[in-house]
């Protein structure tokens, strides 16, 4: 901050340099021209001392410009404060870390953004943030790249849309011109703002101020919302809320279709909490999943029960019946009424061909662990008609197990990121149809993409005088709105967030706006002032500070310290440090009374027979908002391992019945909508359900999402599954509709799978023979700590081996915590400048990921068990790859690192052939990204590899060096935990530990030498520096999967 406030004068003089600096930075004339406009034609220059205090703004702009010009730094415009644990000077070549936060539709993250020369290059989880506690999702990692997305809007546009709003032609406009037009329209009133949940207290208050000024209304609608949860809560407890689920407190977790480890509500937070309860030992928790598709949660279940999609509710009721009626447990045991309601579900198990053993055992487990169990359900993949009843039943079971208030928390810090509702949207559409809306501002929401045509949203737009879109690109919605006024990227903008009640996090910009965009909030303020309504704030930043001063500061730390101190503190920590917040959060609130009335009315009329279509969202692609980010497109789905596509997942039975093969094209018809999709055969899926992922089929999202350049059958990557939805009496039918699947004769669409799916069908292959993954059941493990580890004779060396004095880096991966979420894959990609290669080359097996999550199925294809194994360079002491390199391009460091010397490599690929783990990647072509903006995302600490060289995991050697350097400068010994590799840092399950194996005290050496640790392919005596902790499953019926690997 100091540079900015001080010597503005000199910086002003320097500011001419900017253009040089920028030109030097972006050799793109178009951009320059835009940048010119941004400053010359900005209101700032015209009227120096308007109430917006633009002079200061200009000065600060100048300041940052100067900084930009000194060392190509693009520092944000306002006072921002580096992360507290880091030096706050900008030294070229030294990274700065800024705490910030981001809301990824419904999932809140506290983040630390690593910037180099003012460029954000890496997102890390903010350890102190109470929600994600340092964990980050793959999407959050990719968020950094999205700042540099070349297809982002570069300035305001005016769209000349035709009558039908089918196509449009857009012309660039200045902000003034735009504002003039907008304000004219706003004056007419009848303004509506449509947005997703913002979960930003200050923005929300600003919006309400704005609404007061223009008689506007704010409609909140979440594309992937949790309406059913809120409605269920309201009906059962008279309190509309999305609870905070306390997996850390639960011994038995039962999920009915809720993919809480992958995509449901707040997966990263849940994974953190869930991992806490998975410590190998007698207290290890147990996860039972009832689902029809095969979700990441299902893959991690101890017991996974595959049920027909329309039987979810029935199954849950059957479970309740087991407890209440059969076992006569709980206060409702005697209740004749309840019994009457439950009776119909007496023999659900039998009807569904599920072993009734499971129900009875689960019932006992649940009752045994009452108060320490957790029932969760919901998600996009729940048949819509069942969603609310399912929630009610869930709440009922939670209440009678008296989990409510213990593992279900709605009072202390419930979730605040799902405020949207479909009903509100439906109302809005009606209003629009009736011409009651003259101006519609669409913010952080892409209805045209995610609503079916039948919703009538698009025709309704014709009745709206002016449609303003503030998205980040002129996409599906943008191109048919009249005014396209792009908002800043969240890494360019100020903001705050309340992801859970009373957990306030700050959003600092980490880079000065790349393009001629304007913060949505600044737009509102501008229009308000033009509209003549005075606001106290000079600009958005000012507004934010004022808001915090008057609301949050006052509310929490009254008088403790001055607001300035408080503010600096907040910026440094990134999250509001509320005294005794953590204490409060860990407390439990009392149970709420359950109103039986809700249960009484919760009926699900029998669904028509036939296969049902379920929508689901993918861990990587989510709602599709980041479809233009190559990292996301090439992100192997944790379950299917397929990249660059969505597809119809079908069960083996279904496939064989309809003569489908992997990748064969089918015509899917549901809700009168027809779409051609390739087929993926998913073992373990229920034959009654077929699934399709949303988020694909973006038509106007940019080069990557909309025309991949590689041979895809159509213009976009995948197909837009949202269009299968249908509005039916205020309910969006998105899942559970009857589907017709017709084969398009011998037409195939290759699916780019990073892990040959045909392998699991390969009868010649069994994991068992190979002892690749050490895994066992809890019962076995409690008997023998080495259970599941392949035992073999002692291995000896025929020559004296190298000794490692000093550091010896090692890693331990806890297969038991790892859920396979693959966040580490993108973290590594971001840290190490790993290119995405495109669908065609993934098909040819040339993806470049340094760390991959190997997925193995176990057992019969009908109901397979999934085992995940993160696989990266094992840094073997006796590395087979090193011996065979003719030019010594890879050798061993004195600290046990297997080092790859790119510039010495001639590319014989012998090392890769000789690597038993096949973790080396070869640059088949020149993947260097010359794109003027994307190249800014490169990490300067890591060489960008050229064509023809081999590359692989380095254990983040640049981080090791940095940590050692810092320790040296501080004159202190390197402490355990100083070094955190990219994958380790982002792991939501804390499955990865890294450190010095020679330091006996270090966590890693403890684990490395523990009984549970084992090496993959140990017989080869490569002596890897990575060990894996045995995967332990805790299934319901011990005999179902009590098995002993190895031992032979």
């Amino acid at each position: 901050m100091s540079e900015i406030t001080e010597n503005n004068q000199t910086q002003q003089n320097k500011s001419e340099k900017l253009w040089v600096g920028l030109e030097h930075y972006y050799d793109d004339p178009k951009f320059l021209e835009m940048a010119q406009k941004e400053f010359l034609s900005s209101p700032l220059s015209s009227e120096p001392d308007s109430e917006f205090g633009r002079r200061e703004f200009l000065k600060l702009m100048g300041a940052s410009i100067a900084l930009a010009s000194t060392s190509c730094i693009r520092r944000p415009a306002n006072k921002i404060v580096p992360y507290v644990k880091r030096p706050d000077e900008v030294v070229p070549g030294v990274a700065n870390y800024y705490a910030t936060s981001w809301l990824d539709n419904g999932q809140g993250f506290g983040m630390v953004i690593k910037t180099r020369e003012g460029r954000p290059i890496k997102a890390e989880g903010l350890l102190e943030h109470p929600v994600n506690r340092g964990g980050l999702s793959a999407r959050a990692q990719a968020h950094v790249l999205s700042v540099y997305d070349p297809d982002r809007a570069r300035g305001p546009k005016k769209n000349i849309v035709n009558e039908k709003r089918t196509n449009s032609d857009s012309v660039e406009v200045t902000w003034e011109a735009a504002d003039k037009e907008v304000i004219e329209q706003l004056k007419k009133g009848k303004v509506r703002i449509l947005s997703g949940t913002l979960a930003s207290p200050s923005t929300e208050s600003l919006i309400s101020e704005f609404s007061r000024a223009f008689g506007a209304k704010h409609i909140v609608w979440d594309n992937l919302g949790a309406d059913d949860v809120k409605e269920g809560q309201a009906l059962c407890y008279g309190q509309e809320a999305v609870p905070r689920y306390r997996f850390d407190k639960a011994k038995t977790v039962v999920s009915f279709g809720a993919d809480f480890l992958g995509t449901y509500l707040s997966p990263v937070e849940f994974t953190k909490l869930f991992a806490k309860s998975r410590h190998a030992g007698p207290l290890m928790s147990q996860l039972v999943v009832f689902e029809s598709l095969y979700s990441l949660t299902g893959a991690n279940a101890d017991t996974r029960v595959s049920v027909a999609s329309d039987q979810l509710f029935a199954s849950l009721m059957g479970l309740i019946h087991e407890i209440v009626v059969v076992n006569k447990k709980s206060s409702y045991a005697g209740n004749a009424e309840v019994q009457k309601w439950l009776e119909p579900y007496a023999n659900v198990a039998v009807n569904n061909g599920v072993s009734s053993e499971i129900f009875s055992q689960l019932a006992q487990e649940l009752w045994k662990n009452r108060g320490e169990s957790l029932i969760i359900s919901g998600g996009l993949n729940i048949p819509t008609k069942q969603a609310v009843p399912l929630q009610i039943a869930t709440n009922f079971l939670n209440s009678l197990l008296d989990n409510d208030g213990k593992t279900i928390d709605v009072n202390i810090s419930p979730n605040k990121t799902y405020k949207g509702s479909f009903k509100a949207l439906a109302l809005l559409i009606d209003e629009m149809k009736n011409g009651q809306v003259s101006t519609l501002i669409i913010h952080r929401s892409n209805p045209i993409y995610s609503l079916p045509v039948s919703s009538g949203f698009q025709e309704a737009l014709n009745k709206v005088g002016l449609v303003i879109y503030t998205g980040d690109r002129n996409d599906e919605t943008g191109r048919i709105s009249n005014m396209f006024l792009p908002d800043h990227h969240s890494l360019e903008n100020w903001g705050d967030g309340e992801f859970q009640k009373q957990v306030y996090s700050i959003q600092q910009p980490t880079i000065r706006p790349m393009f001629n965009t304007r913060a949505f909030q600044d737009s509102l303020l501008t229009w308000m002032s033009l509209g003549g309504s005075k606001s106290a704030a000079k600009d958005w930043h000012d507004y934010l500070v004022n808001y915090w001063k008057s609301n949050i500061y006052g509310q929490w730390t009254k008088g403790a310290k001055s607001f300035e101190e408080f503010w600096v503190d907040v910026l440094q920590r990134g999250v509001m440090d509320v005294s005794n917040l953590s204490a409060k959060r860990s407390a439990t609130s009392g149970a709420r009374p359950f109103s039986l009335g809700a249960l009484k009315n919760s009926k699900v009329e029998a669904a028509p027979p036939g296969t049902k279509l379920l929508m689901y969202s993918k861990v990587g692609m989510g709602d599709g908002s980041m479809a233009n980010i190559s990292w996301i497109q090439e992100f192997p789905d944790p379950v299917t391992k397929i990249t660059w596509d969505n597809y119809l997942t079908v069960s083996e039975e279904f496939a064989s019945k309809n003569g489908l093969k992997e990748g064969s094209l089918v015509e899917v018809t549901a809700n009168e909508y027809v779409e051609a999709l390739p087929v993926h055969i998913q073992p373990g899926q229920h034959s009654n359900a077929v699934g399709v992922a949303v988020g694909y089929g973006r038509r106007f999202a940019g080069k990557i999402a909309s025309e991949s350049g590689e041979e895809v059958s159509n213009r976009s990557i995948g197909q837009n599954a949202f269009l299968f939805a249908k509005l039916e009496n205020d309910q969006w039918i998105r899942s559970g509709m009857t589907v017709k699947v017709t084969v398009i004769e011998d037409k195939f669409h290759p699916l780019a799978c990073t892990q040959g799916h045909h392998m699991l069908r390969d009868k010649k292959f069994e994991v068992k023979d190979r002892n690749i993954i050490a895994h066992t059941s809890l019962t076995e493990f409690l008997k023998n700590k080495k259970a599941g580890i392949h035992q073999h004779g002692e291995l000896k060396s025929i020559w004296p081996e190298h000794k490692y004095t000093g550091h010896k880096w090692a890693m331990v991966i806890d297969s038991n915590s790892c859920t396979g979420c693959s966040a580490c894959v993108v973290a590594c990609q971001s840290e190490n400048n790993i290119p995405a290669v495109g669908k065609r080359y993934v098909l040819e097996g040339r993806e470049m990921h340094w760390i991959r999550i190997d997925r193995y199925y176990r057992g019969d294809p009908e109901a397979p068990e999934t085992l995940y194994q993160p696989m990266l360079c094992q840094h073997c002491d006796n590395a087979p790859c090193e011996t065979v390199c003719p030019v010594v391009a890879t050798s061993h460091s004195s600290e046990g690192l297997n080092e790859m010397i790119y510039n010495r490599c001639v590319g014989t690929r012998y090392c890769s052939n000789n690597c038993p783990y096949k973790v080396r990647r070869f640059n088949w072509f020149n993947y260097l990204d010359h794109n003027d903006t994307l190249k800014l995302a490169y990490n300067p600490e890591v060489t960008v590899r050229s064509r023809g060289v081999m590359e692989k995991c380095t254990f983040c050697v640049q981080r090791i060096k940095e940590a050692k350097q810092t320790a040296q400068d501080k004159k202190v010994p390197l402490a355990d935990g100083d070094i955190r590799t990219a994958c380790q840092q982002s792991c939501p399950a804390d499955a990865i530990s890294f450190g010095d194996n020679n330091d006996k005290g270090s966590q890693v050496s403890q684990l490395f030498n523990s009984d549970r640790a084992s090496v993959v392919l140990e017989e080869l005596y490569a002596k890897p520096a990575i060990k894996y902790l045995t995967k332990i499953k805790n299934p319901l019926m011990a005999q179902v999967s009590s098995h002993q690997e190895g031992g032979h």
């Binding site: 690749i772 190997d854 590319g907 690929r909 038993p916 096949k918 070869f922």
Partner: protein, 461 residues
Amino acid sequence: MFTRDQLITGNKTLEQITNDICEPVETVPTIKWVALMLGANSTLLIFVSTLIMIIGLGMGLMAVNHPIGWGTDIITFVFWIGIGHAGTLISAILFLFRQKWRTSIARSAEAMTVFAVMTAGIFPLLHTGRPWLGYWLLPYPNQRGPLWINFRSPLLWDVFAVSTYMTVSVVFWYVGMVPDFATLRDRAKNKIRKIAYGALSLGWRGTARNWSHYEMTYLLLAGLSTPLVLSVHTIVSFDFAVSQLPGWHTTIFPPYFVAGAIFSGFGMVVTLMTLVRIGFPKFKDYVTINHMEVMNKIIMTTGLMVGYAYATEFFIAWYSGNPFESFVFINRAFGPYAWSYWIMVTCNVFIPQLFWWKSIRRSIPAMFVISICVNIGMWFERFVIVVTSLHRDFLPANWGDFIFTWADFGVLFGSFGFFLTLFLLYLRLAPAISIAELKPVLNVGRDNNGHDASSGGTHHG
């Protein structure tokens, strides 16, 4: 004493021999030759353009991928190196064993060796990611601080073995030709020929003293080449045997590879010789049907050897009890690439067995077809070893497939263009049969004159 078939038919005099053998070099090319040459050149053109594209754009143009790091390039390299063995084998080992019938084919076999090794030499370079840095594989002092090469790497052993073999074969071949160049020089009508062959012959006179040194050196070279030729393919086999990949990590590889090399080498010699006999009918008197038959016998024998090797591999895979090993071999015979395995077995083991029948052994069309089969089979042997072992190794998670691209075909077929161009030029520019070596065995098997026969018989040629 036993009588034997004449090595050279048609009761030639010394002068006739000279005339016959020099004829192709001294007359204008026939249409046949020109046609062949044009064909070879156009194939060569394909080769060159493919190389340019691969070097220009990247290895990604070829089928190699992750996990199959080695593909057509290495396969074809081993294929050509293997072919390059027959020449030295014939000229060196058979020389040591006093097999006089070798003289008629030795020269062309050596030429074939040299050209085959030259062709092979292109591939290891091409297959690297950065061919322009190939010289980094040589141990030369440099100023990049202590920066050397890894003498433990089998690939480096290859570099040494192949380059040594190349050098020695060329020298061996050339030394053999020096006296014949002298002959051409002395017969030369026009000045250019005189100068050219004069230079090539280094002014050879052929005095008795020269000859005694000459023969001694030739003997030494033969003695040196014999272990060399065995070492080369042994070391090439180390590329695989020294790694720890199931299917590669096999101690049987060295002998197995050498046998295979001789097998394929003779296959190629037969192919070429049948063509030479067609191209230059006069040569039929020197490369007689007996010569061909002997070679066919060798093909049959070595065919049985490789067959034995295949069988042993399977036995060991089963006997070792190593699940990875046994899987790889089951996968070879019944996996996705079973077709290549069975092509290999058919061409290498079964088809050569036809040579048990004398009629087939002595039928030119039959042996031509069979020798082609042998070449195909041997290429697929290397394909099976390289691809099927790599595409399914330890961790099923990184199993992959190998799909040919146009570039693979380009380099594979193109390489034949390169080889044939050289060979056809050689047929026109150098005496295709060693004149000086042929004359001493002129009388072998001529029953008119016992003394000659014995003198030919007791002394090598």
